[in-house]
C-alpha cells in the first residue's frame, strides 16, 4: 500500500536558554512620573484597575505585576510599540549576547533560525517583506526561479503534496545491459555527514527515524548499525562489518578507489573526496565510482590555495560529469557549508543529487562556537538523547517542507529534475551584467561575491 513520506515533528524546546535578540531598558526616572500621570487620569476604580492592567505590549514584556519596573525582555519581539507609546522612556536595542552566536558564516540569524526549526519542525513564517541585504556572498547571491502557471500537479492545494523528493545513491546503468542497478533510494536529498569526534548517537537515531543516512567514521561505530554509512580509509577495509550495504571510502586517487571497490564486492562504495579544485580528477573518478561525496570545509570552501565556494565547485563537478557523458550514471553528494534550508535546493540546482549536512546538525543541538568553525568543531553541551534526536528530526522536517516550497514554486514534480537546472536559477553577477551593464556601463569592480 502506498505510504506518503512524512517526517513527524514534535516540540523539542531549547534545552539551553537562547539569548533573545532584543534588550529592553526602561528609564525608571521617566517611567515613574509617566505612570503616575496616566493613573491620575483615571476617573474611577474601574478605570484605575484597567489602566494598571493595560500594558503597551501584546507579547507580555510588561506582564509581570510591576510591569515596566521589571520588563521580561525575553518576550520582546522588537515590535517597538512600547517605544512608540513612550519615546525616551523605553529603549529597545539589539542584545549583544544574541550577536555572539555562531561565527562569520553561521551568523546569529542563521543560528537562531536553525534553533527555531529544530525546536518545532515548522517552516519559519513571518510578516512584512524581506529585511536583509539586496544580495550577498555565496548562496545569498542566488535566487531561484518560479513559474506563474506551471505546477508540479494540479492536485492538492498547491500541488506540492505530490512532489517526490526521492533520490538514489549508487551507480545506474544508462542502457539496458541485463544488470540490476546497485542503488539505494532515500526519500530526501539530505544525509548527515557526522564530523569525527562527535558522539554520533543522536545523528544515527535521527537518520533511522527519517529513513535517511548518516555517514559516520568507522572508529565511532560499534558493529553494524541501521541507516549508517561507515566512513573508512583503505587501511580500515578489513574492519568494516560485512552487513553494511553502503560504505564511504576516503580516497585521493582513482587507483585507491578501485582498490577499495575490489575489496568490497557488491557494495555501494561512495568515494569521499576533499574538494580542492581538481575537476579532472572528479571526472576520472566518476568513470568508476558508484557515487562521489565532495566535501568542503564547514564554511563551504574548497581546501586549496584559491578555494572556490561550494556553488562554483559543485557546478564545476557537475559539468565535468556532464562533459564525460556519465552524469546520470552516478550520484553526486556535496557537503560543507550547508547552513540553511535554502542551501539544499540551491546546491541541487548547481548539480548535486544530494547534500550532506554537518555543523548545521550540531547547531540544532545548540553547540557553542569558539571562534571560526571552518575545520574545527564547535563544542557541544550535554543533552538527552531523545531530545537531541527530535531536534534533528525537526530540522529535517522543516527543511523538507521548505524544499517542497521551492520545488512547488518552480513547478518541479520531482527533486531529481531540479539537479543541475541552472536555467532555473538567477545569479547576482549574471543579472547585474545582463541588466545593469547595458544601462550603466562597465562594472567598476568585477570581483565575485564569495562567502568568507
Amino acid at each position: 500500500m502506498f505510504k506518503r513520506y512524512h517526517i513527524q515533528a514534535k516540540e523539542a524546546p531549547h534545552a539551553f536558554k537562547r539569548p533573545n535578540k532584543f534588550s529592553v531598558k526602561v528609564h525608571k526616572t521617566k517611567f515613574v512620573p509617566m505612570i503616575i500621570n496616566d493613573l491620575a487620569k483615571a476617573k474611577n476604580s474601574s478605570e484605575l484597575s484597567q489602566t494598571i492592567k493595560s500594558r503597551p505590549c501584546i507579547y507580555g514584556v510588561y506582564g509581570s505585576l510591576v510591569g515596566g519596573m521589571a520588563p521580561i525582555e525575553d518576550k520582546c519581539r522588537g515590535c517597538f510599540r512600547c517605544v512608540i507609546e513612550n519615546p525616551g522612556v523605553v529603549d529597545v536595542t539589539i542584545n549583544p549576547e544574541f550577536e555572539k552566536a555562531g561565527d562569520s558564516y553561521f551568523r546569529p540569524n542563521l543560528v537562531a533560525t536553525i534553533w527555531e526549526e529544530a525546536s518545532n519542525g515548522k517552516v519559519p513564517v513571518k510578516g512584512a517583506g524581506y529585511r536583509g541585504p539586496f544580495a550577498g556572498p555565496g548562496f545569498d547571491g542566488m535566487w531561484t526561479d518560479f513559474s506563474e502557471i506551471v505546477r508540479p500537479t494540479r492536485d492538492g492545494i498547491h500541488g506540492r503534496e505530490f512532489i517526490s523528493t526521492e533520490v538514489d545513491i549508487g551507480r545506474k546503468n544508462t542502457v539496458f545491459n541485463g544488470r540490476a542497478n546497485n542503488i539505494k533510494s532515500i526519500q530526501l536529498p539530505i544525509i548527515f555527514d557526522t564530523p569525527i569526534g562527535i558522539d554520533a548517537k543522536v545523528i544515527k537515531e535521527a537518520a533511522k527515524k527519517t529513513g535517511l543516512l548518516a555517514v559516520v567514521a568507522l572508529r565511532d561505530l560499534r558493529g553494524l548499525e541501521e541507516n549508517v554509512v561507515p566512513r573508512a580509509s583503505n587501511g580500515e577495509i578489513g574492519k568494516i562489518d560485512n552487513g553494511y550495504r553502503i560504505i564511504e571510502m576516503e580516497v585521493d586517487s582513482v587507483e585507491g578507489y578501485m582498490e577499495a571497490k575490489a575489496a568490497l564486492p557488491g557494495k555501494i562504495v561512495i568515494a569521499r573526496v576533499i574538494a580542492n579544485g581538481n575537476d579532472a580528477f572528479i571526472a576520472d573518478l566518476a568513470k568508476h565510482a558508484d557515487s562521489i561525496h565532495l566535501v568542503h570545509d564547514f564554511h563551504g570552501f574548497e581546501l586549496s590555495k584559491n578555494p572556490r565556494f561550494i556553488i562554483d565547485s559543485t557546478i564545476a563537478a557537475h559539468e565535468a560529469l556532464v562533459d564525460a557523458k556519465i552524469r546520470d550514471e552516478l550520484s553526486l553528494i556535496v557537503g560543507g557549508g550547508i547552513a540553511a534550508a535554502e542551501h539544499v535546493p540551491k546546491t541541487i540546482i548547481c548539480g548535486a543529487d544530494i547534500v550532506s549536512i554537518d555543523i548545521a546538525a550540531l547547531v540544532a543541538l545548540q553547540c557553542k562556537f569558539n571562534g571560526q568553525a571552518t575545520q574545527t568543531l564547535p563544542s557541544l553541551n550535554k543533552f538527552r538523547a531523545e531530545w537531541g534526536t527530535q531536534r534533528l528530526v525537526n530540522l529535517l522536517a522543516s527543511w523538507y517542507d521548505q524544499l517542497l516550497e521551492i520545488s512547488g514554486a518552480m513547478g518541479m514534480r520531482e527533486i531529481r529534475r531540479m539537479r543541475g537546472e541552472l536555467g532555473r536559477a538567477m545569479f547576482y553577477e549574471d543579472l547585474e551584467t545582463e541588466v545593469f551593464e547595458p544601462i550603466f556601463g562597465k562594472r567598476k569592480t568585477a570581483e565575485k561575491l564569495v562567502a568568507k
Binding site: 534588550s23 522588537g78 517583506g129 502557471i149 505546477r151 513547478g411 562597465k442
Partner: protein, 429 residues
C-alpha cells in the same frame, strides 16, 4: 467593548499617534533594533515625518536604505541640492493606453497595492480608501472580499480576483473601475496565499465565506489557467462581467518575466503589475521572501525593453511594485522603464509600521495595522490614518516635481525609461 475599555484603548491610540510624531522628529537611536537593511531606522522615521508634515525632512536619509544593491546604489545625476516646494509638473499617468475602454488617469504615478481584509484591519482599508479618494488615485482590496464600508469609495477601489476567489462576487467586480487578477505575489511567488487561523475572525470568515479561526490557503496558481490562452479567457471572463473595467494583471518576477508581460498584453490586459521579490506580505515563509524570484530593479528594464522591442510598449501600462519604499524609488523605477508604481508597505509605515515582521502571529500587528483583532484594530483611526497617507504622498509629490524640474521636464511621463539620467555606484568606472 465597554466604555472603560474604549477609554483605555483610546489612551493607547493617542499615545501611539503622538509617539510616532515625536519619534519622527529624530534624535533617537536604537542601535539597529529599529529597522533593517531595507527599511532603515532613518527611512522609517523619515516616512513618519513625511506622514506628519507633508514634506521631506531636512536631517534624515529619506531617499535610500542600506541594502547595498538595487535602488540603494542607483542615483540620479543630480549635483546640487534640490529646491523643494517651488517646482510644478504634471505627475499624472494613464492607466489605459489602449484605444478602447475607459480612459483612466491618476494624478500621481502611484496607487495602493492589494492588502486583503484579514491581512489588515477594516480601519486600515478605510484609511487607504479615504486617502485614495482624496488623492484621486486607487487602492486595491487584495484577496479577501470587498467590505460594504468601502463601497462609498468604489470609484477609487480596485477589486482583486485571486486564486482563492475569497469574497469575489459579480457585484463587486461590477462595482470596480479596475479589476486586478493576481497571479503571483512578490513576497511568496509560486506559493499562493496563507492567512493564519488566528486572524480569521468571524467577520473575516463571513466575508470570505469560510470557517472562523481556520487557516485559509489561497492556492497557486489559478487552477483554471494552464496557458496564455487560458489567461486570455480569464481576462475575457472579467470583461464579460464588467465591460467597462480596466484589467490589471499582477505577476511576480520569474526569469522570463518579460515573456509573461507580453503574454498579458496578448491576453488584453490594460495594466501589467510586476511585483518584485522583496515586496511586503502579511505572512510568508522566510525562504520565499529572500530566495524566490528576482528583485524589481532587474525586472523593470527587462520588461520595458522587451515590450518596446515587441512594439507594444505604448499599449500597456507597467506598474512596478515589491520593494518600492520612497519617492526616489518610484522615480528610479520610472526612469528604469515603469509607468508608475504600486505602493503597499510605505502606506503602512506612514501609519506607524516599524517593519518588525510580527504581522502574522497571534492577534497580528501590535499597533493594529495587520490585525483583525477588535481591540488592536481600534488603535488605528481612519480619520487620522488617511491624513498620514495623504501627507506622505504630498511629500512624495514635492520630491518628484523637484526631480522633474531639475531635468527640465514638464511631465513625469518624460522620465520613463530615462536611464541616462541615473548612475549606479558600482558601474561606469
Amino acid at each position: 467593548m465597554n466604555q472603560t475599555k474604549l477609554k483605555i484603548l483610546g489612551h493607547h491610540r493617542n499615545k501611539i499617534h503622538e509617539g510616532v510624531e515625536k519619534l519622527a522628529e529624530g534624535g533617537f537611536d536604537y542601535g539597529g533594533a529599529l529597522g533593517n537593511y531595507r527599511w532603515t531606522q532613518d527611512l522609517l522615521m523619515s516616512t513618519w515625518y513625511q506622514a506628519n508634515k507633508g514634506k521631506p525632512p531636512k536631517s534624515m536619509e529619506y531617499k535610500t536604505g542600506l541594502s547595498g544593491g538595487g535602488f540603494d546604489k542607483i542615483h540620479f545625476k543630480i549635483d546640487s541640492e534640490l529646491e523643494y516646494g517651488t517646482a510644478n509638473a504634471d505627475l499624472s499617468i494613464s492607466l489605459n493606453k489602449k484605444s478602447s475602454g475607459e480612459k483612466i488617469s491618476i494624478p500621481l504615478p502611484v496607487y495602493g497595492g492589494g492588502m486583503s481584509y484579514g491581512s489588515v484591519s477594516l480601519q486600515v482599508m478605510l484609511s487607504r480608501a479615504m486617502a485614495a479618494k482624496e488623492l484621486g488615485t486607487f487602492t486595491s482590496t487584495g484577496e479577501g472580499g470587498y467590505p460594504d464600508e468601502l463601497s462609498e469609495y468604489k470609484d477609487n477601489i480596485i477589486t482583486q480576483v485571486a486564486t482563492g476567489l475569497f469574497g469575489v462576487k459579480e457585484e463587486t467586480i461590477q462595482r470596480a473601475k479596475i479589476v486586478e487578477i493576481k497571479y503571483a505575489q512578490g513576497a511568496k511567488p509560486g506559493l499562493g496565499g496563507h492567512l493564519l487561523g488566528d486572524k480569521v475572525t468571524s467577520n473575516v470568515a463571513k466575508m470570505r465565506e469560510s470557517v472562523p479561526w481556520v487557516s485559509l490557503y489561497s492556492p497557486f496558481p489559478f487552477h483554471s489557467v494552464y496557458s496564455v490562452e487560458d489567461h486570455k479567457k480569464h481576462v475575457d471572463w472579467l470583461r464579460t462581467v464588467n465591460k467597462k473595467a480596466l484589467i490589471s494583471v499582477k505577476v511576480s518576477t520569474p526569469i522570463d518575466v518579460d515573456m509573461v508581460a507580453v503574454g498579458s498584453y496578448y491576453a488584453g490586459a490594460n495594466i501589467i503589475q510586476i511585483d518584485g521579490s522583496y515586496g511586503g506580505t502579511g505572512a510568508a515563509p522566510e525562504i520565499a521572501k529572500k530566495n524566490i524570484a528576482m528583485p524589481i530593479e532587474y525586472a523593470i528594464p527587462k520588461v520595458h525593453k522587451f515590450l518596446e522591442s515587441e512594439g507594444v510598449r505604448e499599449e500597456i501600462t507597467i506598474m512596478a511594485s515589491g520593494g518600492i519604499r520612497t519617492a526616489w524609488d518610484v522615480a528610479k523605477a520610472i526612469a528604469l522603464g515603469a509607468d508608475g508604481c504600486v505602493i503597499g508597505t510605505s502606506e503602512l509605515v506612514a501609519l506607524g509600521c516599524t517593519h518588525c515582521g510580527n504581522c502574522e502571529s497571534g492577534r497580528g500587528c501590535p499597533i493594529g495595522l495587520t490585525s483583525t483583532d477588535e481591540e488592536l484594530s481600534f488603535l488605528v483611526d481612519p480619520s487620522w490614518g488617511y491624513k498620514k497617507i495623504v501627507n506622505m504622498y504630498r511629500s512624495w509629490e514635492i520630491q518628484w516635481k523637484a526631480i522633474l524640474d531639475y531635468f527640465s521636464m514638464k511631465s513625469i511621463t518624460e522620465l520613463r525609461g530615462r536611464t541616462d539620467l541615473m548612475y549606479h555606484e558600482d558601474y561606469g568606472g
